[in-house]
Symmetry: C2
Subunit: 331 residues, 2 copies
């Protein structure tokens, strides 16, 4: 900037005015400065600018997701990006992989970078560690899981309702031996889906057979192995509820592998690309990811714009999408 000023024969401050499009610089001088900028390949330094400006806006937000390569996380990221792009805000994206320590260090790292706001799909059970930040005015929105120990905005899905719908649907098709495949029960959403499924069955005067419940499943490969094992038992289930998208994918593989795709009913939680073109089409409980992303972006940017109203907790009700796999009747 100093060089630009020297080349244009003006003061530093005048260059600053030009690059910031401030009023009060004559067209002649503006042109001289712009020529110098081009000639020297000068690029404005946002960090220094933000440092000097009091308002401390870095035009950057952080997004801590479960795994950016998972379709749920990446669709959410994309929705946030669309909103951020309009305001010239960049996104620092990271994956947490359900590791609490990773969440802690990444939050720390993002705050050091002075992000304007934070979107978190938490991997920790409690987020008390953020209390001071929120009190200090950090715009913070939780997604997929409600915050614990700190009062901040959240956008979540009614997992209980979704799992109940799945239970009712399968019972309605005449099933009574239904297997449940789920993720780590330490994960709030996973626990809710299990309890929602149980209460859905209870409402139809049934109980979930604990021998048909497998949890702590971390990948589609594990899900496939788990279901194969369950199907090999003496009295196998006639229907399966897979409580997460990767788990459902593993279940599809297991059924395919054992030639039971058209014999054992399957309902998944969370839609994913191509679920409709499987054979049979996969019946799922769908969370409207686009909508979730939009709500998250709306809340986050409202906070960044200074909204200090009490935290909002938006709950989106998922819907059952019937495609065939969930409508198979018990043999």
């Amino acid at each position: 900037m100093r060089d630009v000023a020297a080349l244009a024969g003006v003061s530093l401050k005048t260059v600053s005015r030009v690059v910031n499009n401030e009023a009060g610089v004559s067209p002649v001088v503006t042109a001289k400065v712009e020529r110098a900028v081009l000639q020297l390949g000068y690029r404005h330094n946002l960090a220094a600018s933000n440092l000097r400006r009091g308002d401390a806006r870095t035009s950057t937000v952080g997004a801590l997701l479960q795994d950016v390569s998972n379709s749920f996380s990446s669709s959410l990221l994309r929705a946030l990006e669309d909103a951020a792009h309009q305001r010239d805000v960049a996104i620092l994206a990271s994956s947490l992989d359900e590791e609490p320590s990773r969440e802690r260090t990444l939050v720390e790292s993002l705050l050091r970078r002075r992000v304007d706001g934070l979107l978190i799909m938490p991997a920790t059970e409690r987020q008390d560690y953020l209390v001071d930040e929120v009190r200090g005015g950090l715009p913070l929105v939780f997604v997929d899981r409600r915050p614990q120990g700190v009062d901040a905005d959240s956008v979540t899905v009614d997992n209980i309702s979704g799992a109940r719908q799945a239970a009712h649907h399968l019972v309605g098709q005449g099933h009574s031996r239904i297997a449940f495949l789920g993720d780590l029960t330490a994960i709030q959403t996973a626990a809710e889906r299990l309890s929602g499924f149980e209460s859905g069955l209870a409402e139809r005067d049934m109980v979930l057979d604990p021998r048909l419940v497998v949890t702590e499943i971390r990948s589609d490969a594990e899900a496939m192995a788990a279901l194969l094992e369950v199907l090999a038992r003496p009295s196998p289930p006639t229907a399966v509820f897979a409580a997460r998208n990767t788990v459902a994918i593993g279940a599809v593989r297991a059924l395919r592998h054992s030639g039971l795709s058209s014999k054992v009913a399957l309902v998944g939680f969370d839609d994913f690309p191509l679920a409709d073109v499987l054979e049979p089409g996969l019946t799922v409980v769908r969370q409207d990811v686009r909508r979730i992303g939009e709500e998250v972006a709306r809340l986050l940017f409202a906070r960044i714009d200074g909204d200090v109203s009490p935290p909002h907790h938006i709950v989106i009700t998922p819907e059952l999408v019937v495609r065939g796999s969930g409508e198979i009747r018990p043999q």
Copy 2:
């Protein structure tokens, strides 16, 4: 920091030494400072720190991808993240949507933020605008498409080879009426896949019937519509090559919709989750995304670490994955 120094009764510089874990501070003073840091909730400001330090490392890299919600882009992002995480580097991720102007403005915005390096899956045809930056030492790696007009590292896939393999495979199954469905021919990879497919046919003494070629397809919905139209013609193709993942998905839908899944052969370019559990399994030309991501990360961080060797152009050869859909014989 000033407050911390005052509370601990030491100088600014000493606080700086403590937060940077510099040697030469007595344990007593270190403890006092750390207590003050905790008490005041002080957080180190990376931007100011980088400003003052000469080396200008922001520990941030930019990733400009085609669309972060597409499985190819998001897998790449994830691979880069894994490498970046080890070095405490954060990633600014954005989608370009094949819009050249978006690439330009996003590059500008990332450079203003003084990223340490840039990964670009270009949407522009030429990247001359980056010549000065590269000459100035900007670590820059292109992925999926080779740079034009600027000499920088790249990691690409041998699209010609992949498309030729697909052509040979389909011809080998006895097909002669083969449709080609592709993306915008302005996109380098799309053009290569078309010409590779043509030369693959030529090597078997066949020519691609221009009436069976549909390009400029932007979404799976468009691909589905295009293939339905082609299949409805008087002499429909007996096989289809879909030159991109979303195009292949649309093609699967079209075949399903017209009940031709087991009658018309289909080969896709680029694997995606679940392609193996379709009915029949989708035969694809697979690009090893993980490997691409690792190579990209390796190159990028080597440049950031000061590697000034001539640009490397890594070309990864894709392989045909046989799953059933590509082995259907002409009726």
